[in-house]
Symmetry: C2
Subunit: 177 residues, 2 copies
């Protein structure tokens, strides 16, 4: 069973934390990443190639700018630049980690509805595996799986692994991440 074949291409959708803010990754995507490293990659960094996809949702990203005044096209341009920089900082976190561990990776940003963009990118990039984190309600409760992960399991054209956030890591408001 020599590892002569091409590395396993693992696509991972990552997003910002709604609590800690810029440039922290969300609890669930960090959990999913750490789990994938320790339980799948293990001692075999050359066997895996990570593909980090960050999707910026236009409405959501504009939230912080609610009180801003947009008086000219330049203002919108600046906002877009700021969003882009936030996204790049988020991706930097994951790319740095891979770099330190000797795992090859790529990272990019897309805009739109996360669940649709993820499935479209799976179709385009054809990874071997899609990893999606999800918020959960703890080990002994009925578990709620977010619509994004549920949609991906049904529609993505590759195997999908769903990793729930640990109950101990859930914030006070489980909608936060």
């Amino acid at each position: 069973m020599a590892d002569s074949s091409a590395p396993t291409r693992v696509m991972m959708a990552v997003n910002e934390s709604s609590l800690k803010g810029y440039p922290h990754p969300s609890i669930s995507c960090r959990t999913a990443f750490d789990w994938t490293l320790s339980k799948l990659v293990r001692s075999n960094p050359g066997g895996f190639h990570f593909l980090f996809l960050h999707i910026q949702v236009p409405d959501e990203d504009g939230f912080d700018d609610m009180d801003s005044i947009y008086a000219s096209p330049d203002d919108f341009h600046q906002m877009k630049q700021r969003d882009k920089i936030r996204g790049l900082h988020l991706l930097e976190y994951f790319v740095n980690q891979c770099h330190q561990l000797g795992i090859k990776c790529e990272a990019w940003i897309r805009h739109g509805d996360p669940k649709e963009v993820i499935c479209n990118e799976v179709k385009r990039v054809q990874p071997d595996l899609l990893v999606v984190g999800s918020r959960g309600l703890g080990p002994f409760q009925r578990v709620f799986v977010g619509t994004v992960s549920e949609f991906c399991v049904k529609h993505a054209e590759c195997p999908v692994i769903t990793i729930k956030r640990k109950a101990t890591e859930a914030p006070q408001d489980p909608v936060d991440d």
Copy 2:
């Protein structure tokens, strides 16, 4: 990143083929097993420990005996023995493959409703990962995910990977497997 930690414990629910019959594994669970070997285990057999769970559904297994006459408790006993042997032969297929590849494994049989038994066994055995195969309707169609895999993604208390059967491997009647 030395592999000093305990092996990743991968639970896999396996079932008989509805087409090829005894003792063949279903297309979807064989696909899921082969995928897990080539894409996750790769060249690291010592890093993984497989846990094969076969669930026998009382009604389904009795189907072949529809025309039999059950005249005494012994008849039922014999039927149960036959079911057990079928189940053991199925598990033997997976245990043999692991043995050849040098992967540690365990295998056992349970009775009941597959989706509930799987989630209960996850709670009891606490694997790192649950692998479930599912029937799919091909890469360019909307994909149908069986209720078992869907239920497990929502309710199993560990990360779950859903692996869809390849469209090219789907039998004429996609309900078959």
